[in-house]
Symmetry: C2
Amino acid sequence: MEKKYTHTTPADIENTSMRIITEELRSMGITLPEETAPVVKRVIHATADFEYANTLSFTPGAMEKILSCLTSGELSLVTDTNMALSGISKASLEKLGIPAFCYMADPEIASLAKEQGTTRAYCAMGKALFDSKKGPVGLIVGNAPTALIRISEEIRNGNPPAFVIGVPVGFVNVVESKEELYELCLSMGIPAIIARGRKGGSTVAAAIANACLYMATRSLDPRARGWD
Amino acid sequence: MEKKYTHTTPADIENTSMRIITEELRSMGITLPEETAPVVKRVIHATADFEYANTLSFTPGAMEKILSCLTSGELSLVTDTNMALSGISKASLEKLGIPAFCYMADPEIASLAKEQGTTRAYCAMGKALFDSKKGPVGLIVGNAPTALIRISEEIRNGNPPAFVIGVPVGFVNVVESKEELYELCLSMGIPAIIARGRKGGSTVAAAIANACLYMATRSLDPRARGWD
């Protein structure tokens, strides 16, 4: 590799990036709470978009509760897209014994959505929360506002998730569905991380999930590198 | 679903989103060239970030040349991450007869990267362009600047790709590697779509690839819906 590119190993690139992000946040006068900083910084790392320092919202105590779920040995995770699932660290999931699923490509979900004239994401979250009767389920939504709409409905129906990472992106129903879910989680004591506004996406969802997984891994083994 | 959410089918949500994006671009005084507008709008759709209207750069004639590659029946695609691969429309790839690969999880790539003290993305792009001797390869990079560095090196070594979508995200080597590759593609006549600056990501890479694939599909069958 040519000499003008000085940082070339993954560890070096990661550490330098995090240092730049920390410095730029400081120069912007933004101080992040210690508890949530690793999540916010990883999202900025994944997007190069400092707006997330202002838009990422955590219900009170969300990080502690989410980390407790991740280290419980009982949790399963469900994502709204295979893309988000693909971005989540398999090594961390394995270390923590967390199975992770996405139902978007299931033929039964596709036919159910067609039948009901709704989205696959709406039906997939219904399935995820039906399964939550068997054990706690953490939900990770990076794409579909209709997934959040279904989660809010199921919370009202008495089928709450263990936690929600709700960061869909877009122009239709996105802002409203995030606000509704955030308020509902706040009032019901369900830990939630929501990206207010239009922005979000599968990379944002995966970055938040990975930041939480790395923190959970480190809480079990302080020598763990914390990312991979 | 509750009545306050009025747009609930995928087609309805997509059409309404695209109308909002078109209107907001107009109100911002931005006129996109007809040729590249579908790509830029799909990226804004995937990110809710209008900055891409200014940062996405296309080498002259890039769209026409990329669409010609996609409909040639000879192309294969290689992405830098499984996440980007996961976001690319399998239905469109199948319609166009394009095989798509990612070598990031290959054990041989991992051991080669470790041996050379570099990234898996750097080695994976080397493999992709070595394979290009067997047939034209389009490269899609949403994450790793080291992937772009290797592509530039291989272009200089006489192993050019059929085209490059180069939109990695980040803080180290990202801006420089994009500028170097863009200039090189410009001077060598290699079609390229690059997101100038720090921003980008796997969702951006997949959105660009999908916009191109939908345009290619429609050019073969004007009745095709153009997205899925």
